[in-house]
């Protein structure tokens, strides 16, 4: 019996981006089916269509053999489909129980029966072996637990088909192991699981069959055991890719950024950074590894002047810049590739040219004392579009019309042409296609070779290992590991530090701060 049949699905988004170009996709009941493909291949869109969040431009869907029109998630849920999204769909200020029963609240007269709600949650947690703290607010939970809540949320609604969108992206290798165990148990009890990923090792480990998407099309469905990682990779990208980037030897010179005993307590009273000390030298890449939510975001925001109230010292080129706002730091030769490119990195409605000059619009050669020079701006933008391979109509088209990878290239083009001495790159390749990823990583190496000091924050361990000269690991707001060289270091090894299982002694961690 086929659990899901999707036939000739086409999806065009309102901004003209074509995400699915006639996809056929079938899943057998009770199997774990991996949906693989690089970023932008249309995996998430296809699953959002199945879950009713997006509606297809054309195409046909059958669930357990019956033709259906999934116009909204409510319909999907009643068909027995559940989805765990990449960005958790939880209401932070509500408790786990409240999140869990939202839309199916048990009542006593007219009010919600909280006791029964808590009991329902605890029973479900027991039944599926996924313990969660029912009465706690979601806000305070670690990522791994939040994910459990998400999975339980789907199960408690009677899901028979469970979609997981890149569930391991935010987990450590060890947490991933636990998740896989739970998924296997679910599959054994008859659950159909669709697992979106682009991490081939995990796909090989967990799935029974897999479907590969490329550029919005299905390029093959295989039994997992019958296809090699290399073959999957080749089909995903459509050419032989060697995502092995030649790391050049580092020739570190003077210290550019020096962070001493940085401490920070967030508005909600949580201490998210504790005695952080490290330095970055000209001509090296310092990698910051760690599970998301262990203080990296706050660290970057403080360093780049987007967050204030930190204790300790931040010294840039010998000058104390602690708690200085971004408009001061931008004038001190600091460049920043932010984690959230759409929220911070670009103005979608502005043109490519306007985006490219946002940190230097007031300076020569783009502006006189007050009046801007459109011709100079245009020339610069045309040059950048060429040098950075930005696929666009021209400098005047709005950034909104570009694909994710090209948006990131606009941003990268600006930050790499800013003549900065320090570059803070926060998840610089998240969610972009392989070609763009390769391009950005090569540019980072180039920058380092030119003598820029690079601070690389990434949740992608492969990226960290590939690019960094030295590595620090953050866990619960502290540096718990320091690796002055990365030769011989494995993802598993880093994972133990990221989880807080292992920890270097104080004296070694102190060495991260080189004078």
């Amino acid at each position: 019996m086929k659990a899901v049949e999707m036939h000739n699905i086409v999806k065009i988004y309102p901004n003209g981006v074509v995400a699915n170009r006639g996809v056929d996709f079938e899943v057998e009941e009770g199997e774990i089916h991996a949906l693989v493909g690089e970023n932008g291949a249309g995996k998430t869109t296809l699953m959002k269509i199945l879950f009713g969040i997006e509606y297809p431009t054309s195409g046909e869907i059958r669930v357990f053999g019956k033709k259906v029109h999934i116009t909204n998630p409510h319909v999907a849920i009643s068909l027995g489909i559940g989805m765990v999204h990449q960005h958790f769909m939880l209401v932070p200020s509500l408790t786990v129980a409240e999140n869990m029963i939202l839309g199916m609240e048990p009542t006593k007269f007219t009010s919600i029966d909280y006791q029964r709600a808590v009991k329902m949650v605890e029973e479900a947690a027991e039944k599926y072996g996924l313990p969660v703290p029912a009465k706690e607010k979601v806000l305070d939970l670690p990522v791994g637990i939040k994910q459990r809540v998400e999975i339980l949320k789907a199960l408690i609604r009677g899901a028979k088909i469970l979609i997981l969108d890149e569930p391991t992206a935010v987990l450590t290798p060890q947490e991933t192991g636990e998740l896989f165990q739970a998924l296997r148990n679910l599959a054994k009890s008859g659950m159909t699981i669709i697992f979106i990923s682009h991490k081939l090792k995990e796909v090989k480990e967990i799935s029974d069959r897999l479907t590969i998407l490329r550029n919005g099309k299905n390029v093959g469905t295989f039994v997992t055991s019958e296809i090699s990682e290399e073959e999957i990779s080749r089909r995903m990208v459509g050419r032989e890719v060697e995502l092995v980037i030649e790391r050049t030897e580092s020739k570190p010179r003077d210290v550019v950024l020096r962070v001493e005993n940085l401490e920070y307590t967030r508005e909600d009273g949580v201490k998210v950074l504790n005695r952080i000390s490290f330095s970055v030298r000209s001509g090296e890449i310092l990698g910051v590894a760690g599970v998301e939510g262990n203080g990296q975001r706050e660290l970057v925001e403080i360093l780049t002047g987007l967050r204030f109230g930190a204790m300790g010292k931040v010294i840039l080129n010998g000058e104390n810049i602690t708690n200085q706002p971004s408009h001061i730091l931008r004038r001190k030769e600091m460049a920043h590739i932010p984690e959230d490119r759409v929220e911070l990195g670009v103005a979608l409605k502005a043109t490519i040219a306007e985006n490219l000059i946002s940190d230097r619009y007031y300076k020569d050669p783009f502006c006189g004392r007050m009046v801007m020079k459109p011709q100079k701006i245009r020339e610069f933008a045309e040059q950048a579009i060429k040098n950075f391979n930005i696929r666009a109509d021209g400098p005047d088209s709005p950034v909104m019309m570009l694909s994710g990878g090209n948006i990131q290239k606009v941003l990268v083009a600006r930050e790499f042409t800013s003549d900065a001495k320090l570059l803070i790159a926060d998840q610089p390749t998240r969610g972009i296609d392989v070609g763009s990823t390769e391009f950005v990583r090569k540019k980072l190496i180039e920058a380092k070779d030119e003598g820029v000091a690079v601070l690389l924050v990434s949740a992608d361990l492969q990226e960290i290992l590939q690019l960094s000269d030295r590595i620090i690991v953050m866990y619960r707001g502290e540096i718990v590991g320091y690796f002055p060289k990365n030769e011989g270091l494995t993802e598993e090894e880093l994972g133990y530090y990221m989880l807080g299982v292992r920890r270097h002694e104080e004296s070694r961690i102190k060495e991260a701060l080189i004078s």
Partner: protein
């Protein structure tokens, strides 16, 4: 100055605070119900105005104040539905849609008033009815307090009752939970099959209901006629009071009472021959000052620039 003090310290002054706060409390609750669901209802002002107008006209036409109240509330809810339709279905900018509906209400009521009564200023020539005051014997027997809280307009009692009903609705019922979820993370609500649009529609209807009650009070209690643009910013003051109270109905009520105090004070000051232009400004200046104090206290806790 002495007479002002005597004015403020009288039981009558407290009585008048409760009276002038009534429409503000309704407006505040209206603002709260929509804000919890993530909708800023700028059109409260227009909704109140519509209700005030139809209350007078229908009560005059049917001879029943209660029919007037019903008509007023219905007209206000219709306007809320229009806001919901434009914002949620046609994707009109929320703030601009609210401004547009306020302009619409102002133009609509003046045009119709002129058509019906031949007067653009007020409905004084139309014989309309007012809703009753309630004399609750056991309240009246309480010394001092009795004079303050007894013998109020029926909608004044309903306003205070509504505060607790709204608080219960938001924090204890399934609808309230859905409203909070939709307001805080609509994607999360949608992902469990809650219809975001439906919840927002309901929230706006409830918001319109509150605004309708507040508007009806103005023309069928506070005074006994309709006057051009008689809401005079009360809908906006309701928004400010809600901002002060956050997502608590009781907090919002306190905010509304604060502005009610300013308004009552302005009447007391008028009695000692202060120019009416000056005293009329008082509630608005009060609102500005309160907004500043509130914003400053909130800001001191924030670290992020965004």
């Amino acid at each position: 100055m002495n007479s002002v003090l005597r004015g403020i310290l009288s039981t009558q002054f407290v009585y008048s605070i409760l009276r002038v706060s009534t429409p503000l409390i309704f407006a505040t609750l209206g603002a709260l119900l929509s804000d919890v669901s993530g909708v800023i209802n700028i059109a409260l002002e227009g909704m109140m105005l519509m209700s005030a107008f139809w209350g007078v006209m229908v009560s005059a036409w049917t001879g029943s104040a209660w029919m007037g109240l019903l008509a007023g509330v219905v007209s206000s809810i219709l306007l809320a539905l229009a806001l919901a339709y434009f914002h949620l279905n046609l994707k009109t900018d929320l703030i601009l849609a609210g401004i547009a509906l306020n302009i619409f209400s102002s133009g609509f009521t003046v045009s119709l008033l002129f058509m019906i009564s031949g007067d653009k200023g007020s409905s004084a020539s139309v014989k309309s009815y007012v809703l009753p005051r309630l004399n609750i014997p056991f309240l009246g027997k309480i010394p001092i307090l009795g004079d303050m809280i007894n013998n109020h307009h029926v909608l004044t009692y309903l306003a205070f009752l509504s505060v607790f009903l709204v608080q219960y609705l938001i924090y204890k019922t399934p609808l309230g939970l859905k409203m909070k979820a939709v307001g805080e993370n609509p994607d999360a609500a949608q992902s469990v099959g809650v219809s975001v649009i439906r919840v927002k529609y309901i929230a706006l209807i409830l918001s319109g209901l509150m605004a309708g009650l507040g508007g009806a009070f103005l023309s069928m209690g506070y005074v006994s006629w309709f006057a051009r643009d008689m809401t005079n910013g009360r809908g906006f003051i309701g928004l400010a009071a809600q901002a002060l109270g956050g997502h608590s109905a009781i907090g919002g009520m306190l905010g509304a009472l604060l502005f009610g105090f300013a308004e009552a004070l302005s009447y007391t000051l008028q009695a000692i021959q202060l120019p009416s232009e000056i005293t009329n400004m008082l509630p608005f200046i009060f609102t500005i000052v309160a907004l500043i104090i509130y914003a400053r206290s909130r800001l001191s806790k924030l670290h992020a620039l965004r």
